[in-house]
Symmetry: C2
Subunit: 354 residues, 2 copies
Amino acid sequence: MGHSRPTLADVAGAAGVSVSTASLAFSGAGPIAAATRDRVLAAAGELGYSGPNPLGRSLRSGRSGIAAVVIGDQLRRSFRDPVSVQVLDGLVSTLGQMGLGVLLVPGMPATEGTTGVDPLLETAPMDVAVLIWGSREDDPALLSLQRRGVPVVIGEGPSVEGVPVVGIQDRRGSEELARHLVDLGHERIAVVSLPFGGPRRCAVVSPQRMTELRWTPTKHRLEGLQDAGVVPTVVVEAAASLVEEGQAAGRLLLDVEDPPTAVVAQSDLLAAGVLLAARDLGLRVPQDVSVAGFDGIDLPWLAPDVLTTVAQPLAAKGEALGQTVAALLAGEQPEPALLPVTLRTGTTTGPPRT
Amino acid sequence: MGHSRPTLADVAGAAGVSVSTASLAFSGAGPIAAATRDRVLAAAGELGYSGPNPLGRSLRSGRSGIAAVVIGDQLRRSFRDPVSVQVLDGLVSTLGQMGLGVLLVPGMPATEGTTGVDPLLETAPMDVAVLIWGSREDDPALLSLQRRGVPVVIGEGPSVEGVPVVGIQDRRGSEELARHLVDLGHERIAVVSLPFGGPRRCAVVSPQRMTELRWTPTKHRLEGLQDAGVVPTVVVEAAASLVEEGQAAGRLLLDVEDPPTAVVAQSDLLAAGVLLAARDLGLRVPQDVSVAGFDGIDLPWLAPDVLTTVAQPLAAKGEALGQTVAALLAGEQPEPALLPVTLRTGTTTGPPRT
DNA sequence: GTCCGGGTTCGAATCGTTTCGAGGCGTCGC
DNA sequence: GCGACGCCTCGAAACGATTCGAACCCGGAC
């Protein structure tokens, strides 16, 4: 008894047809008599043949049916953030409908201290790659992919020559939010920002550090404030978009002599942390301090408070990324997409105490 | 000018060696003079050749370097649960170190109403598959994979002939927790359970429904209570392991004439929801009602409360799954693993009101 | 001088499928 | 009755790499 799994040739032999005909029976690409197809399929069933081997098919067609999704520096961190997760969800569904599988690839090598990129990025089969969240111009992952000739789509990154980008109106949303606060009468507004890129830390941003800002969403959201004429009294950089980080940053900002009357956090998770910090310090929201976020995710445990935030269409972003991937694979040169955001005022912002 | 990317043959030609020698230069499998290797590598650099095409390599070696991870019915739901995420994180790192990439595959077809499994499961290249969370005996995904001859590892599932399982001591942990409550003096204990399998709903479990329990973790955690001699006054089945669900279930349980003195939730997220429900109803925890969870995840926003829970080693579970995958690929027949859990008493359980 | 052997390199076969052009057979039209 | 046209089927050539055994070259030993 032969042991390796049956191949198309075995099936063809059993059905008494040629290999090419058997192939046709499975792929359906080409004319084939119904009787013949049935015979082949029957033979396949008998032999326990479960469809063409994807490896052989890939080699021949040059396509693997795999889209790599490059996630930030740590899976753990990316996935604790509902924002990434919802985008990924939209992306997986959209690509799934196109028959593309999603391969998770860490953006950095698993072993600490190594320089370069994760070996998977260099060796895994992929038809296209998506840098889902916050690439930079000199991203080693991006360079590696370009060297391999893999088409790339960037989510929320800088525009790079020839690489389509899908983003949201970070800047305009941030501006609207700032206007909302200004209209309420706030003058002393502090910011808890997303990471700047480079080494992660939770600390007040110095002018020196401000020049090292490399991460696009962070940058755009800060610029939006400027557009509304707001100059933050302080900016605290969070090490990651997590509740704990927001809480630490909130303490830094609020546990001082003359605290700001409003805190703008660059993500809802950070804002939630700021709310907790305010609660710990005995500050009422929004009477003593207003707090606003960004993203528009569900935070059921915040009730009865409702966070004022800028909602972005997360699932739609995943879909847009998927569409861009499709266009790229079809050989088109997709336009950059910029998805709309909406200001959603809740109960956590109000006029400052006079 | 030829446009398609250079192949190993091109590189070999440019370096003046045979294809087989060039292959050696890259794979390092076999003796090769340092000078020759350098010459090949130099030629490769000049031609912009970025390493052997994974498709060709896969076909020849019969291995794709891909492990499929089959996630529950919806990505969104799986990933909103920190439990899945942390396990996945451990799994991705462990597999990454072995050079295996993780392909995300939905457990059910993307398009509603279709029967069967996601086409990716049948056509994507994979050396092994991991059913990460809660498969059942008659899981169509499992059957499909077995038909393809793909080795499978199950996380938290039923034991199936010839399929290695990695689980935790659900039953013993649950029993310990129950004893803790009994020792405190509780007699009226209610349960908020994980889904039973089949149609999802948030409702009180009838005796009829109890016979339809298909999902292993749910089952084991209920059995653990029995082991401690606890017969729940009511069991409410949640539609998913989410805070909202726990909150709804909590209302169902606590907003009644004669509420239980303790609520055991089968996950921390559910327990958090129960806490919120208790708060909404003006019940003090643990004075009026004790609440316990399962999993041991971080819930920073619960502070100053600390949830009493059964902690399971989530990252270790991911690693154990990875090790099992490795063993399977090495041709071994891995033993089922059962990871230890620890009762962690917090501030949310105490003696019942007398 | 011949033989032997260690260290490299080469040729050819192979992995399983798709695709393309050629050919066979039956039928329809004139 | 003959030619042409369709519909199917087939054979052979890729796709890009790995691998195995054979061939090779050179120095050292007898």
